[in-house]
């Protein structure tokens, strides 16, 4: 299954997630995404910037090993997971507040692990 299919399957499992994107946090660019409708480039860029800012905040708090961050405001939930080894590889998502967040984190972590094992994209 390709990356796009992996992301599509993940999004299908969690309909509350409107966009799921595989991103390179250092370059701050979304490499592959799956969305309910065509995602605007500034939305995707914003997801990267938001993830970078959230991980930076965790590191300021001394949590350098933090590999999951979230932020919820304005009626949406932003979630980002990064690979513990390839730390620039991240899975970012924008979800509805009603999303099964704990379930999503488990599945998303498995998808990210699988992508990492495949050597990223």
């Amino acid at each position: 299954m390709g990356v796009e299919d992996e992301l599509g399957a993940l999004r299908a499992a969690f309909p509350g997630c409107s966009i799921i994107a595989f991103a390179d946090l250092e370059a701050r660019i979304v490499l592959v995404s799956s969305s309910a409708s065509t995602a605007r480039r500034d939305t995707l860029d914003g997801m990267c910037s938001s993830a970078v800012a959230m991980f930076a905040a965790a590191e300021r708090a001394g949590e350098h090993a933090a590999d999951t961050v979230l932020r919820s405001q304005n009626g949406s939930l932003e979630v980002a997971l990064r690979d513990p080894v390839r730390r620039d590889d991240a899975l970012c998502a924008i979800c509805a507040p009603e999303t099964d967040l704990d379930g999503y984190l488990l599945r998303a972590r498995a998808v990210l692990d699988a992508l990492a094992q495949e050597g990223g994209v």
Binding site: A53, M54, F55, A57, A58, R60, A61, G62, E63, A65, A66, D67, T68, V69, L70, R71, S72, Q73, G75, L77, P97, E98, T99, D100, L101, D102, G103, Y104, L105, L106
Partner: protein, 259 residues
């Protein structure tokens, strides 16, 4: 003064005089009595007889009150409803008519009970247990009145209300209201960790710049998530939570403040 036998007789008569709902085959609520709890406490109030009343909530929660003359004198025991450190604040301490930490914790407990939807069972030392159906209408104000506490002694803050809906109750909690000193609850090492995170993040002022109104931000450290919430005009708070309760906390925040 009414003795235990009289009390038992009264409770028995009350049971016979009331209708049965379909839940667990037994319930008391009729003849103008607004709730089973009201009915029992009315009886207790007439006896002026000190005794324990135990409320069971769902499968694991229970609250045992020392009652006399339609007033709660103290809390004998609390199980499954509060984190142990808060329960320790309450158990065995007399309830004061003036606002204090015990009263505050008790009000938090009442609000938590108010939000439960499980059947409520009530048992006295002398009467057979019986059950109220879900949604019996045990509003917090009514419950507070039943146990002799003027409600609200201290108007519950948004923090109080939010904390009351968090399940399980946070094991540690750092509250930074805009209008008073921070409130810290929980084991010292955990609270120290929260304060460390808060200081590093310039909490809450730094977050307020990013999100001046309502938001949650969090990161995972090991199994635990450090979750911070900024609540407009009220301040901010920080607590830890572990999966699989993260989603419920976020949903509660949205439901309470954004819905």
């Amino acid at each position: 003064m009414t003795g235990p036998d009289d009390l038992l007789r009264k409770l028995g008569a009350l049971s016979e005089a009331t209708a049965r709902f379909g839940v667990n085959g037994r319930v008391i609520s009729e003849n103008g009595l607004p709730s089973p709890v009201q009915a029992v406490l009315t009886e207790i109030g007439e006896t002026v007889l000190a005794q324990d009343l135990t409320f069971h909530f769902g499968e694991s929660g229970s609250l045992t009150l020392v009652v006399s003359g339609h007033r709660v004198l103290a809390l004998r025991d609390v199980q499954g409803l509060l984190m142990p450190s808060v329960a320790a604040q309450l158990v065995g301490k007399p309830l004061s008519p003036t606002p204090d930490p015990v009263q505050r914790a008790f009000l938090s407990l009442l609000m938590q009970i108010d939000l439960l939807t499980d059947p409520v069972e009530v048992a006295s030392e002398t009467g057979a247990p019986f059950a109220a159906p879900p949604g019996a209408g045990l509003g917090v104000e009514r419950l507070a009145a039943l146990v002799g506490v003027t409600y609200p002694v201290v108007p519950p803050s948004q923090f109080d209300r939010f904390r009351a809906v968090l399940q399980p109750a946070p094991s540690s909690w750092l509250e930074v209201p805009t209008d008073k000193d921070p409130i810290r609850t929980g084991p010292a090492p955990e609270v120290a960790r929260l304060e460390s995170v808060a200081e590093a993040l310039e909490f809450p002022s730094d977050w307020a710049k990013v999100s001046p109104k309502l938001s949650i931000i969090g990161h995972q450290s090991g199994r635990a998530f450090f979750i911070g919430a900024v609540i407009e005009k009220s301040g901010a708070l920080l607590w830890t939570i572990e999966p699989p309760h993260l989603g419920a906390a976020c949903r509660a925040f949205h439901k309470m403040f954004l819905a």
